[in-house]
């Protein structure tokens, strides 16, 4: 009988607080992760929205190509009409 009471005491005074402490730690950690995950999701959404202008790069690509072609044409003309530098 005495051993039974000792077992009851251990159950109530030691095991129950330890179980509660550990479970509370797990719950707090899980709850702290939630806002961080929400912020990551918001950032990913905003980043995705920022990249909506990426297709414009195709226009930039075409325009750069045309500009370089024009510069090349001008350069070729200048090469013909302007004298070269004197060497030495």
């Amino acid at each position: 009988m005495i051993l039974w009471w000792i077992g009851n005491a251990l159950l109530l005074l030691v095991i129950l607080p330890v179980v509660v402490y550990l479970l509370k730690g797990v719950l707090d950690a899980a709850r702290n992760i939630v806002p961080s995950v929400n912020r990551i999701a918001a950032a990913a959404s905003a980043g995705s929205k920022d990249l909506d202008a990426v297709p414009l790069l195709l226009t930039t690509q075409d325009q750069v190509k045309q500009t370089v072609e024009v510069v090349a044409n001008y350069g070729g003309s200048l090469d013909v009409i302007v004298d070269d530098a004197e060497e030495g």
Binding site: L16, R31, Q61, V64, G75, D79
Partner: protein
């Protein structure tokens, strides 16, 4: 049931209740995390999808730009020479000469010449081509060659100068005449009163000269302060005379203006010749020749 058994059952129930509460709460939190991660993964997936072609496009753009830079660098060095090219780059972008030209490693060793404002060779070439040059676009006063006057002055400053820019503005010579921007009324008249407007109208334009004075005193005229005049001033007031400053005649009777050519200044003027002296006629005008007189008479008769 003994009391110890009841207590044990209560303790076990409490432990189970605690487990249930915390585990259920943890499950709820983990589900929120899962939902958030799903949202984040969706966004990241969009990012990956949208940014996939960026690398290729940017590489292509860079290749085209590299080709343009190579072309322009090569053309610049070919036409201006490496040294002048570095000088031009330094003039346009101060400090850029240290980096040198990308395709010309030797350009980093070149000491850039000072071609900061006007590149004569390029200016002449472009002037010959009839084009403007964006040279010295970084100048605080703006591109030189877009300013015709500034471009001219800058080009002239490259050569030895006499009086082009320094001092930038020499005082200009005074302009005299009735239309002169600055009128210089004489501070002193020599011989006669200053003609008024009515007298100028009556006598003609030549009288304006007398009204203006010849050289104003502040520019070193004869009536200038002594300090402004030469030491060997040849003509003083005793020679040049002075005006009375009044219109009253100098003599009591005055000049008889009614006699015209026979006014006293004419009839009583001149030296007194000695008795019996022949007049000196060497400067007198010769009379017309008889041939000319006859010819003139004949012409008059034929006309009538």
């Amino acid at each position: 049931m003994p009391a110890a058994g009841v207590v044990m059952i209560v303790a076990v129930v409490l432990i189970v209740l605690a487990l249930v509460y915390y585990l259920v709460s943890t499950i709820v939190a983990l589900r929120q995390i899962t939902a958030g991660l799903d949202e984040a993964i969706e966004g990241v997936g969009e990012i990956i999808e949208k940014s996939a072609p960026v690398g290729d496009v940017v590489r292509d753009i860079n290749q085209n730009l590299d080709a343009g830079v190579d072309l322009l660098e090569g053309l610049l060095v070919k036409k201006a020479g490496l040294v002048d090219a570095v000088g031009l780059v330094e003039g346009l972008y101060p400090g850029a000469a240290k980096a040198g030209l990308r395709n010309f490693p030797d350009s980093q060793k070149v000491i850039p010449p000072r071609i900061s404002e006007v590149y004569t060779k390029g200016t002449l070439t472009l002037a010959r081509l009839g084009r403007e040059a964006p040279i010295a676009a970084a100048s605080p006063t703006g591109p030189v060659l877009r300013n015709v006057e500034g471009g001219s002055l800058e080009a002239r400053s490259l050569y030895p100068e006499n009086r082009q820019t320094r001092p930038e503005r020499l005082p200009r010579s005074p302009v005299i005449g009735t239309d002169a921007p600055v009128q210089y009324p004489p501070s002193e008249q020599r011989g006669g009163a200053t003609p008024g407007e009515a007298e100028i109208r009556e006598k003609g334009p030549w009288a304006e000269t007398a009204a203006e004075g010849i050289v104003p005193a502040e520019l070193g005229g004869s009536d200038a302060p002594r300090g402004m005049l030469a030491e060997d001033r040849q003509l003083g007031s005793s020679v040049l005379g002075e005006t009375t400053g009044a219109d009253e005649p100098a003599t009591e009777s005055g000049i008889d203006r009614t006699t015209g050519d026979e006014a006293d200044a004419t009839s009583h003027g001149g030296p007194e010749p000695p008795e019996g002296a022949e007049p000196d006629l060497k400067d007198a005008a010769a009379p017309p020749r008889q041939v000319d007189v006859d010819s003139a008479d004949a012409g008059d008769g034929s006309d009538t």
